[in-house]
Structure formats: C-alpha cells, structure tokens
C-alpha cells in the first residue's frame, strides 16, 4: 500500500449530476488511504456536484457544458499531464468501484509492466450486471480478443490505472472519444503498441441516480461502439 502512496497517482472522477454519490466516493477513497490526490471533473452538472466536491477539499474542474464521459476523462488526463503525475486512476463517481483495489491495479502494473490495467469485476453475488451490459460486454470482449489475441472479461469497465505514456497519448486531440471510451480504446492502445491487462476488482450496483446503461441507450451504445471499433481498426495513424 505504501508503494501506492509513494507514486504520483491522480484519481480522476468524471461526474455528471452525482451530488448524491460523489461525496461518499471521495470519503471512501480517503478512508482506504491509498492515494493522495483526487480530481473531480464536473461535466456540466446542473445539480450541486461541484459544490459537494469542493466542500470535500479535492481539486475540481468544471466544464461549462456537458461533453460526455470521455471528454471529462480526457480533461483529467490533460490535468495530470500538466501537473506532472505519473499515473491516473479512473473511477466512476456513482460508487460502483471500490477504491481499496487501486493498489491491486498498481501491483498488477508493476508486475506486468503494462501501460494500462483495467479492473474487471470479481464474479460474486454482490454485483449483478444488467442484461444489456452483459450482452455488450460479451460482444466487445469477443471483438477485442479477435484483434488483440487477449481475453478481456470486462472491457466496459471504467476502473482503470493508466501510466503517463498512455495518458499522454490519450490526452492528445481526438485520441480519446467524447462519449464512449470502451473496447475501442483497448484496441486503439494495442494498435499503438501499448500493453493493456486486466485484474480483478470488486464492484457494486450504483447507489442512486440513473445509469448511462439504462433505458434504450444500450442498443444505440452497442451499434455506435461497433462503428467506433471498426474506425479505430481501419484508420491510419
């Protein structure tokens, strides 16, 4: 755990209308005492997300308009690059990810010398993945395996540890999508000679609010992601 604290790690929490969850997530990260620095990227929230985060004493950057999950993460990467951090941990602000596993990601990165470590869900009865998400995960996992030769059980996971080389690359221009960083990013990173591995972490159902994977959105999500993957594969850098 000390090794984890010694490294220059920035936790990036992209948040959109998460006033009910963000405070708890920040508290939980502090309780586990695994990282020192937290950045909340408020992606144009219309609620009190920014105020709640500011009152918790963490760094807050607010977008004037809603850019999307990927846009918020890229702002975090740019911030980390500017402030000289060596690693970025991305966590969802809805309380799904357990911050005590940050060190597991860090250890996995040290052992494998990977550039990106993805936290995949520990299969137990505490977490029930939605039907649409299960189907999406299966499809993207299969495509990712075909391209990279590696099996990723949970390419949709937003719990990731990214080293400087990788987040520097992702912070440039349109290297990171505004809305859907997912299996397409694993394929993009693999294509550009970055190593991506995954390690098990515990995840929970979101505490409150509406998930981006609810309603009709999953169907559109799968179609757009397939298009995005095709473009990543076909594009010449």
């Amino acid at each position: 755990m000390q090794r984890c604290l010694d490294a220059r790690i920035l936790v990036v929490l992209p948040a959109y209308n998460e006033e009910n969850n963000i405070g708890g997530v920040i508290d939980k990260i502090r309780t586990h005492n695994v990282v020192n620095d937290i950045l909340v990227v408020d992606d144009g929230s219309t609620d009190e997300t920014e105020l709640v985060a500011t009152n918790k004493g963490v760094e807050v950057i607010k977008h004037t308009i809603n850019l999307g999950y990927g846009g918020a993460l890229q702002t975090g990467f740019r911030f980390a690059l500017e402030k000289g951090y060596d690693y970025v941990v991305t966590l969802d602000s809805d309380g799904q990810h357990d911050p005590q596993y940050i060190c597991n990601l860090f250890d996995a990165m040290q052992e494998t010398t990977a550039n990106v470590v993805i936290g995949c869900r520990i299969i137990d009865q505490n977490y029930r993945m939605g039907f649409a998400r299960r189907i999406g995960s299966f499809i993207f996992s299969f495509i990712t395996m075909l391209y990279t030769g590696k099996r990723f059980t949970d390419p949709t996971s937003g719990f990731q540890l990214i080293d400087k080389k990788a987040f520097k690359y992702l912070s440039k221009g349109d290297n990171y999508p505004l809305d859907y960083p997912d299996a397409n990013i694993i394929i993009l990173l693999h294509k550009n000679s970055f190593t991506v591995v995954e390690t098990p972490v515990r995840m929970y159902e979101r505490r409150s609010g509406k998930s981006m994977h609810s309603g009709l959105k999953p169907v559109i999500y799968v179609l757009r992601m397939l298009l995005s993957i095709a473009m990543v594969i076909l594009r010449r850098d």
């Binding site: 950057i61 607010k62 308009i65 850019l67």
Partner: protein
C-alpha cells in the same frame, strides 16, 4: 418547358443568390459556408434549361417520366448538402470540446490564484 416557367426558375435562382449574398454582406452567414448556397443558386438558374439535359438523362437511366429526374437530382443535392453540414457540425464539436476543456482549466487556475491571494496578507494601502 414554357417560357414563363423558365423565367420563374431563373428569378428564383437570382433571388436565392441575392439573398445569400446579402446575408454574407451583413456578416450573418459565413463566407466559407455560403459557397454551397451560391452553387445551389447557380444550379437553379441552370435548371431553367434543364429539360435539354434531363430528357436525354432520364431516357438513359430508363425513367419513363422525365420530371422525376429533377426530383432525383434534387434529392442527391440535398443529401450532399446534409453531409457537408454534418461534417461542419462534427468539426465544430471537436473545437467546442477543446474550448470547453481550456475554459475549465483557466477557471481552475483562476480559482487557485484567488485562493492563494486570499491566504496572503494584504499590503497596507498607500497613505496609511
């Protein structure tokens, strides 16, 4: 096509040309985006004599009723115009992202500087 119809189409083309020209002159329409509409106005004027082109073209494509050919060409033009504006919107979205991120960073810097300033003791005013 009757002379009246040809005159009407030519007037329509000239009106659109003049209208777009005036919008550009008043700076209500960007020059680079207006080019497409000047081209559209030009084709409308040319359209007054379209029957010389449309009839043989419709015959070549096996269209029994030649005026349908005009609709087909209009449809293709509209699709191209929509595609062009989708590309413009896409480019604008990328620029908007850059601007939003830069503004957010500047706002963050400003807040940090204000915090630092507030923490520092203020120098006495001259004459105190």
């Amino acid at each position: 096509m009757s002379i009246g119809a040809r005159v009407f189409i030519i007037c329509l083309g000239i009106f659109i040309f003049g209208f777009v020209f005036e919008l550009v002159r008043r700076k209500s329409f960007r020059e680079d985006l207006s080019i497409l509409w000047f081209v559209v106005a030009f084709f409308i004027v040319i359209g007054a004599f379209a029957d010389f082109l449309i009839n043989p073209l419709a015959k070549l494509l096996g269209i029994g009723y030649p005026p349908i050919m005009i609709l087909v060409l209009l449809f293709v033009l509209l699709i191209l115009a929509l595609l062009y504006f989708s590309v413009v919107i896409s480019d604008l979205k990328s620029r908007l992202k850059e601007l939003t991120q830069k503004t957010a960073f500047l706002e963050h810097e400003l807040r940090s500087l204000r915090k630092v300033n507030a923490a520092q003791p203020q120098p006495p005013l001259q004459g105190d």
